[in-house]
Symmetry: C2
Subunit: 321 residues, 2 copies
């Protein structure tokens, strides 16, 4: 993977940066931002790390996560160049109303619009973390254990710990180097996957008990009342949409989360060629081909019905081999 | 990893081999045996692949799995040298009553007894598949796509797709080469983890509904009646013991499977330094430090009680970082 020389020379020439990533950030957004911030600071530069949302509890094991600010210091945007990581529009970062003197995009998502003075977008990169790995190497910065843990976690989460179709030989070679730099696979996996509270697990069991399978679509849901019953919270439903994927005949996993009366967040996961981002976009939602989401104001049964209607291909679409 | 020269010269000097692996074989046993058999056959040699048990459905995606025989051809043992893979005693392979003219052991489990004319045992290898990878390289055999899929699957299953403590930088480098030789991570992961039947998933939900947590031990069970209710089978409980591991405070996951009246198979999964193999050995069972099992003739409640009694350290043992 080749880092654009223009990007490298710009980074070398500036002293201060404003680093932002997408709202509701996960380990790729947080981990790649933190590692990049650490690398720039090791070169004597100053970085301000911003996210509209607080760093979720499941990312609190990432070294340096407390550096993220959720408030924008005054006048910062007129002074500092922006580095947007793991997303490519200001809107996706929740800062659509701000303007910057210079903007750099580093992302592995397809571009949605023409934004950014320097755009480095590599859709075939398994994670933004892979791109930052090469960037750090090109900047001749020593990969510290803290950077390595952040980048390993970024890659692990975006590849489903090396299970998704974006996982390549290159992914494995990069992670091998990150392990040699100090990342511990079991420690990261333990923190990513084995830190559930009993309350969260009780909520999962309750959600699984709502399972319905229709036309190769597995549907589960969580109501606000279930939070009360289990003591869990909405944040605890992270990963719930993926569970029903393990069934061979399930082509799409749909998870409905009650936001308010007759108001649902729908998370979709698909296999193979089924592009659920297309369905999400019909409701002004977003995401990737195999993982997308949207919100719908409707009762649950109607929302389920509308989804099944939008997925007529679910039962006869082939799976990639 | 260095392959013993004595092993290489023996393999080169013989023409026919009897390859056996442990009973209830999983993807490391089957995959490493198949890849090794293919490599030897590409050198013009003849191999007989044997397992006491049929290859389970979840391993039917492994190329060549149909080569495994469950019956031993007459007089074979007096004629052929034995290669024992992924186990190191005849008993573990279910052939304790047979004698061989020469025996080779290739395994990553600690030795239980002094058996084998050539013993290559590497407990720090993530899987026997890693050892066979180096063996195939040393034999100067071209790594085919079929061999690569078998070895990748072997390594994937034994590392929990790169999540367990046995996962190292070397594991990642070896798998990178296997991907370049034709193994597809998503295809393997899909076949290992996303081929559940609806009946199996229904059984999982039923098992999760039995969850009890005591002293950091999560206990679930499946009765024979649940197979009837769901249409699932005992084989479908593969992986069930691991599910409750995702809870942070759970140190040991115990899964009880009813074999007959007052007769249970107990599968244990532990985190960090908790050695469940020690408990299993008290009941003449076996396994690794973090994954072991045994059988017990008792009613369910007494069996649970005995286990909790044997695990007094569960609540205060630290987790490795």
């Amino acid at each position: 993977m080749k880092v654009p020389p223009k990007l490298l020379s710009f980074l070398k020439g500036e002293d201060k940066f404003f680093i932002a990533t997408h709202i509701s950030p996960e380990a790729d957004a947080i981990g790649s931002s933190l590692a990049f911030s650490m690398a720039l600071e090791s070169l004597g530069k100053v970085t301000v790390l911003y996210n509209r949302d607080p760093v979720a509890k499941f990312c609190h094991f990432l070294p340096g996560h407390e550096k993220f600010k959720n408030v924008i210091p005054s006048r910062i945007t007129s002074e500092l160049p922006l580095i947007l990581l793991d997303c490519n529009t200001l809107k996706r970062a929740g800062i659509g109303d701000l303007r910057f003197k210079y903007s750099i995009i580093i992302d592995h998502h397809e571009t949605e619009e023409d934004f950014g003075d320097i755009k480095w977008i590599v859709p075939e990169a398994a994670a933004t973390g892979v791109m930052v790995f090469y960037l750090i190497k090109e900047l001749d910065v020593n990969m510290t254990k803290e950077m390595a843990i952040n980048l390993y976690s970024a890659i692990a989460i975006d590849t489903g710990t090396f299970r998704y179709g974006n996982t390549t030989a290159e992914t494995f070679r990069v992670t091998a180097e990150l392990i040699e730099a100090g990342a511990n696979p079991a420690y990261v996996a333990n923190n990513l996957y084995e830190t559930w509270s009993k309350e969260r697990f009780a909520l999962l069991i309750m959600a699984l008990n709502t399972l319905e399978i229709k036309d190769n679509v597995a549907i589960t849901f969580v109501t606000r009342n279930m939070y009360k019953k289990t003591g869990a919270s909405p944040e605890d439903t992270e990963n719930f949409p993926a569970f029903t994927r393990i069934m061979k005949d399930v082509r799409v996993s749909a998870f409905f989360r009650e936001l308010a009366d007759n108001y649902w967040k729908v998370s979709l996961r698909s296999k193979g060629d089924i592009n659920v981002a297309l369905i999400a976009s019909q409701y002004d939602g977003g995401g990737h081909k195999n993982a997308a989401g949207y919100e719908i104001k409707s009762d649950l049964e109607s929302a389920k019905g509308a989804l099944l209607k939008a997925l007529p291909f679910a039962s006869h679409s082939p799976i990639e081999k």
